[in-house]
Structure formats: structure tokens, C-alpha cells
């Protein structure tokens, strides 16, 4: 048989299996969130059924704290993203435009730090966070999430700012602008794509993160994944539907976001993998 047919057939087999592997678990959980508890484990599985919103109604009746969790997740995600964006823009600008031994060392430091496992820092941080009264606050999660993504975001922004010709800034300077005006009026508007590429990762991480939330929140600042885990731990037999509804509510917005910005994810992972 001709090489080309082998490749054509091989390509479609691989892609079909890949799509099934990636999509099937998500599809099953989301579709089952609209099933009655009898249909959820029906044999054979039902792919065509009368959708019901009972699970969603039950979810918000029995787990009102899930809504609080979503609100907390939203606040923390926005906070961590804004913090990451601002600090990384400044640093990315510095690494792009200035060169010195100190900067090289600090760039290396940023990459080194990113290699350290997050769960390890929880141990020394735990007493410190308690002592400062930051435990169970939005602030501590915002700070932690930002801290673990500023180095990636900085590198992504650096590579984007490298593409902005220096002459544009020189022109702005000749026209009378200070370094801050250049940042706001020239660099910022021209690195919007870089900002998106840099922020995508912290958005997804902050919305989905479990370990830090588990350790540093107890009540007020609990995030959606944490409540989701609680629902998961509390289910008995018939309550799978509620769990699926909760998982779907938590998943669908971020899934839509990821699919919307997938080009930036590719750019960002590529840039980040090359430099840090």
C-alpha cells in the first residue's frame, strides 16, 4: 500500500482516539448532570434522554456554599490575574530593555524558583500566614497564585516586548513622555496579546487550584474546587447528579475561556518552555 494511505488512515485513527480520550470523560459528566439518578448508571449508558435540571436545583438548594465558592474563586482569579499582569508587565519590560549582570542573575533566580514544588512552601508559610492573620483570606491565595505564575508571565511578556521596536519608545520620549507614560501609552497597548498569553495560565490555575486552597482556607475564602471536593466526599449513591452539576458549573466557564484563547496558550507554553 502507498505510504500516503497509511499516513492518512493512521492520522485519522490517532486523532479519533485522541478526541475520544480527551472529550469522553468531560462529555459523560456534563451530559450526566442533566440525567435523573436512575439514568446516570443505566446499562447500557443512555446517550439520548430527556434532560432535567433537577440536579442543578438540588445543588443550589443543598449546597448554597457552592455559590459562595464560585464567588470566592472569581474574586481570587481576578485578583491574581491583575496582580500577575501588572507586576509581570513591569518586570518583562525591564528584562527586555535593560541588561546587566544583576538582571541576568535575577532572571535565573526566577526560573530556578519556578522549579520548586508548591506543596513544599506550604509548610513554612503555614505558621507565617496564620501569624499575619492572612489565613482564610482572598489575599493569601491571590498572592500565592500570582507568585507561582509571575515568572512564566514575565518571560512571555519579555518576548512580546522584545518585538516592540525601541524607536517607538524613543519617539515617545522625544515627544515628551516619561518612562511611565511610555509604559502606559506605548508598551501596554502594544503588548495586549502578550498580556493575554501571560495571564491565561494564571486564570486557569487560580480558578482550578486545589492544594493551596485546601491548606490556607477554612471557611470564608473557600474556593469552588474545594467545595466541589467536599460535595464529592459527601455523596452517597444517588447524589452523583448533584456532583456532576457542580462539576459542570465549575468547568464550563473556564473551558469556554480556554477554547477561546487556545492560540495564546500555545504561544505561552512554547515561550515559557524555551526560556522558563
Amino acid at each position: 500500500m502507498d505510504d500516503r494511505y497509511v499516513i492518512l488512515v493512521g492520522r485519522w485513527v490517532v486523532l479519533t482516539l485522541g478526541v475520544f480520550w480527551s472529550a469522553f470523560p468531560i462529555f459523560m459528566v456534563v451530559s450526566s448532570s442533566f440525567k435523573t439518578h436512575l439514568d446516570i448508571f443505566a446499562v447500557p449508558p443512555k446517550f439520548i434522554f430527556q434532560p432535567t435540571f433537577d440536579n442543578y436545583v438540588l445543588l443550589f438548594r443543598e449546597w448554597p456554599q457552592f455559590l459562595d465558592g464560585l464567588v470566592n474563586s472569581m474574586i481570587i482569579t481576578v485578583g491574581a490575574t491583575v496582580l500577575t499582569a501588572i507586576t509581570s508587565l513591569l518586570a518583562g519590560y525591564a528584562y527586555s530593555r535593560f541588561h546587566s549582570r544583576l538582571l541576568t542573575l535575577s532572571a535565573f533566580f526566577m526560573i530556578l524558583v519556578r522549579m520548586l514544588p508548591p506543596i513544599v512552601v506550604t509548610i513554612p508559610l503555614f505558621p507565617a500566614v496564620n501569624a499575619m492573620g492572612l489565613s482564610d483570606t482572598h489575599a493569601i491565595l491571590i498572592l500565592l497564585y500570582a507568585a507561582f505564575f509571575v515568572s512564566l508571565a514575565t518571560w512571555i511578556l519579555k518576548t512580546f516586548i522584545d518585538q516592540i521596536p525601541r524607536e517607538l519608545e524613543e519617539a515617545a520620549e522625544v515627544e515628551g513622555s516619561s518612562v511611565w507614560q511610555r509604559l502606559v501609552r506605548v508598551v501596554l497597548p502594544l503588548s495586549v496579546h502578550g498580556m493575554v498569553a501571560a495571564c491565561v495560565f494564571v486564570v486557569v490555575f487560580a480558578w482550578n487550584e486545589y492544594v493551596f486552597a485546601l491548606i490556607f482556607t477554612s471557611n470564608e475564602a473557600k474556593t469552588a474546587p474545594l467545595i466541589l471536593a467536599e460535595i464529592s466526599g459527601a455523596i452517597e449513591g444517588v447524589q452523583w447528579g448533584i456532583l456532576f452539576a457542580a462539576a459542570s458549573v465549575q468547568l464550563l466557564p473556564i473551558l469556554a475561556f480556554v477554547l477561546l484563547v487556545q492560540k495564546f496558550i500555545v504561544t505561552g507554553i512554547t515561550a515559557g518552555a524555551v526560556k522558563g
Binding site: 521596536p165 524607536e167 517607538l168 524613543e170 519617539a171 515617545a172 520620549e173 522625544v174 515628551g176 516619561s178
Partner: protein
């Protein structure tokens, strides 16, 4: 309206000396063109005046006030960049208004001035467009608009026409000249194109290796270059150079070419120690004349329409360009003689390259 004085301006990047003791006085409203080969320091000089680079030594004064410690943004100069450096996220009007916005100028004033500048440059229809939607010439005009809109004390141009194609470049050069006569603002214009320099300048500054070689009006530089570099740089096609050696003893001895052709030149001005000199004659200072002292063979003939350039092979080292009449009928291979006018010839010291002043002799 302002004057600019540079005093002993030097700039080095580590070991590399980009500018070495540059002195220059620019009068009010004067249009100065800095010209020289790439890497000669002309752009560095411009950037020092703008404050984009900090000089290593020396002083820059505008209206007799030193601006050495003054930030670029407070120097109130305007600059047109080679790449135009238009802000891609802003419209034409916003690009032109950028400096005024930074200075928080009144909105109605901005509108009025932008409209005026756009009108002056023929950009009236385009103010709502973005730079990527403009042609090269239009972008160049927007860059000009940004420079003229806020009454700077000084215009700085960094090879503003070099990104345009040849035809547009000539057209923009003419427009630039008209504009400069109209605005009359003190300007420093950097280019590597000597045609541009000749056309635009009140005075030309020829630079090489970080130093000023000569300052003068276009005709002064053309007629009286002070050294080999300036002589060779200004004029197109360039000046012909012929190396001459002194034959025999000291005074009274003859100058001749490497191949031994004697060249009759008055040599009263030549100091006795000089063994060899370089004779420089522009193509229009040479003429084909079978009685001329230099003998050679026609190698290439290039009709230019209004005239014909004839390239004559003198010897292995020398191919001379001679401007001949419109209907010159020479053929490659023709043996010819070349005569030259001593009043249009220049003698340079072979070692230092400096001009040797001789008393004008008679035509050879």
C-alpha cells in the same frame, strides 16, 4: 527659533569611539545636513542632541543654555526616525497629536493644530486611518506631522527618506525643501545620500570615523574639498584620483603616473620633501583630447542622455571617468588622450590625505 552649539562632543561605547571632539555652531533657522558613510557617527551625534544617548564628554547648548543634563522629554526637540516610528495602535491624527496630548494641551488647540499640520502635509483625508493602512510616503508625512505640530526648538531627521523607493525619495526631497523654507526651523538632517545633502542643506557637515572632516555650503564642499575623503565622498560620479610620483631630484623635477606618463602641473607650492601626491579631478574637469598629457584606452561608454560618461583605462590601477558631450561617439578600445583643467584639479598629500595648496597654474 534657536541656535545650537556643540562643543568637544565625544561619545564612546567602551573601547569604541563613536564621536571624537565634535564642534559645530548652527545658526538660527539654519538647515544642517550631516553626511557620511554608515558608522561614521552621524546618527550617534543626532541621538546625543536628542538626548537618546548621553555624550561621554563635551557640551550641547541650545540658545546658549547647556542641555547636557536635561532629559530628552524636556529638550523640546522633534525627531523624524528612519523607520518613522509611528505608533501602530494610534490613528494618524492621534500620532500627530501624541506630543501635545502628553503635554496636556487643550483639546481644541490640539484639533486645530493637527488639522493645520495635516493640511500642510496633504494628509487631510487620512487622519482617521492607522499607520498600517498608509503607503510609505504617507507614513513619512505623518512622521513629519508629528514633528512640526508642536513648535519644537529643533528638528532632527534621522535618514527620513531612506526607506522610500527612489522615485518617491526624489519627490519627498522636493517637498521637504519646500516645507523647510516655509517653516524655517533650525534643523539637523542625517543622511548617507550626498544628493539629498546637496539639495537640502544650507551647510553640509561631512563626517567620517567619528570626526567632522569638513563643514561648508554644498558648493564649497564640491569645489574645495579639504581632503581626499570629502573629495571622494561628495559628487556623483565621484572625483577621479590619480596617484603621482615625483621623478628624479627635488625642485624642477617632474610628476608622473605610476606607468611613467608625465603630468605637467605647476609645482611651486609643493614642498621639496614630498615624493608623491594624489591628483583629484572631477569627471567634468577632464576632457577627451588627443593632445592631452594622459594616454589611455576607452573601456566603457555610458550615455546618460544629457551627457555621456566615458571610462578610460589609464593603467592597471586607474580607470578615469570623463564627462563627454551628449553625442560622444567613442567605442571601447579607442585609444584616447585626456586633458584636464588645472583650475579644477586638486592635489592631496598621499599620506595625510590633506589638500596641498598650490598656486593656480595654467591649463595643461
Amino acid at each position: 527659533m534657536s541656535t545650537l552649539i556643540l562643543e568637544g562632543l565625544s561619545k564612546n561605547y567602551g573601547e569604541v569611539e563613536a564621536l571624537i571632539g565634535v564642534d559645530l555652531n548652527v545658526g538660527d533657522g539654519e538647515f544642517i545636513v550631516l553626511v557620511g558613510p554608515s558608522g561614521c557617527g552621524k546618527s550617534t551625534l543626532l541621538r546625543c542632541i536628542a538626548g537618546l544617548e548621553k555624550q561621554s564628554a563635551g557640551d550641547i547648548r541650545i540658545d546658549d543654555r547647556s542641555i547636557t543634563g536635561v532629559q530628552t522629554r524636556d529638550r523640546n526637540v522633534a525627531m523624524v526616525f528612519q523607520s518613522y516610528a509611528l505608533f501602530p495602535h494610534l490613528t494618524v491624527a492621534e500620532n500627530i497629536a501624541f506630543g501635545l496630548r502628553i503635554r496636556r494641551t487643550d483639546k481644541s488647540v490640539i484639533e486645530e493644530r493637527v488639522a493645520h499640520a495635516a493640511g500642510l502635509l496633504g494628509l487631510g483625508e487620512l487622519t482617521g486611518r492607522y499607520p498600517r493602512e498608509l503607503s510609505g510616503g504617507q507614513r513619512q508625512r505623518v512622521a513629519m506631522g508629528r514633528a512640526i505640530v508642536r513648535d519644537p526648538v529643533l528638528f532632527l531627521f534621522d535618514e527620513p527618506l531612506s526607506n522610500l523607493d527612489a522615485k518617491l525619495r526624489v519627490q519627498m526631497r522636493t517637498e521637504m525643501k519646500a516645507l523647510r523654507q516655509r517653516l524655517g526651523i533650525t534643523s539637523i538632517y542625517v543622511t548617507h545620500d550626498q544628493d539629498e545633502a546637496m539639495t537640502l542643506a544650507d551647510r553640509i557637515v561631512v563626517m567620517n570615523n567619528g570626526r567632522i572632516e569638513q563643514i561648508g555650503t554644498p558648493m564649497e564642499l564640491y569645489d574645495a574639498p579639504v581632503n581626499l575623503f570629502v573629495a571622494g565622498f561628495m559628487g556623483s560620479p565621484p572625483m577621479n584620483f590619480i596617484e603621482l610620483h615625483r621623478k628624479g631630484g627635488n625642485s624642477g623635477a617632474q610628476l608622473e603616473t605610476a606607468s611613467g606618463q608625465p603630468v605637467p602641473l605647476p609645482e611651486r607650492g609643493l614642498s621639496p620633501g614630498v615624493r608623491s601626491v594624489v591628483l583629484g579631478v572631477r569627471p567634468e574637469g577632464l576632457r577627451i583630447d588627443d593632445g592631452g598629457p594622459l594616454k589611455g584606452t576607452v573601456e566603457v561608454v555610458e550615455p546618460k542622455g544629457s551627457e555621456t560618461q566615458v571610462f578610460v583605462r589609464l593603467d592597471d590601477l586607474h580607470l578615469l571617468c570623463v564627462t563627454a558631450g551628449k553625442r560622444a561617439t567613442f567605442q571601447p578600445g579607442d585609444p584616447v588622450g585626456i586633458a584636464f583643467d588645472a583650475t579644477e584639479s586638486h592635489l592631496f598629500d598621499t599620506d595625510s590625505g590633506q589638500k596641498i595648496t598650490t598656486e593656480k597654474g595654467t591649463a595643461a
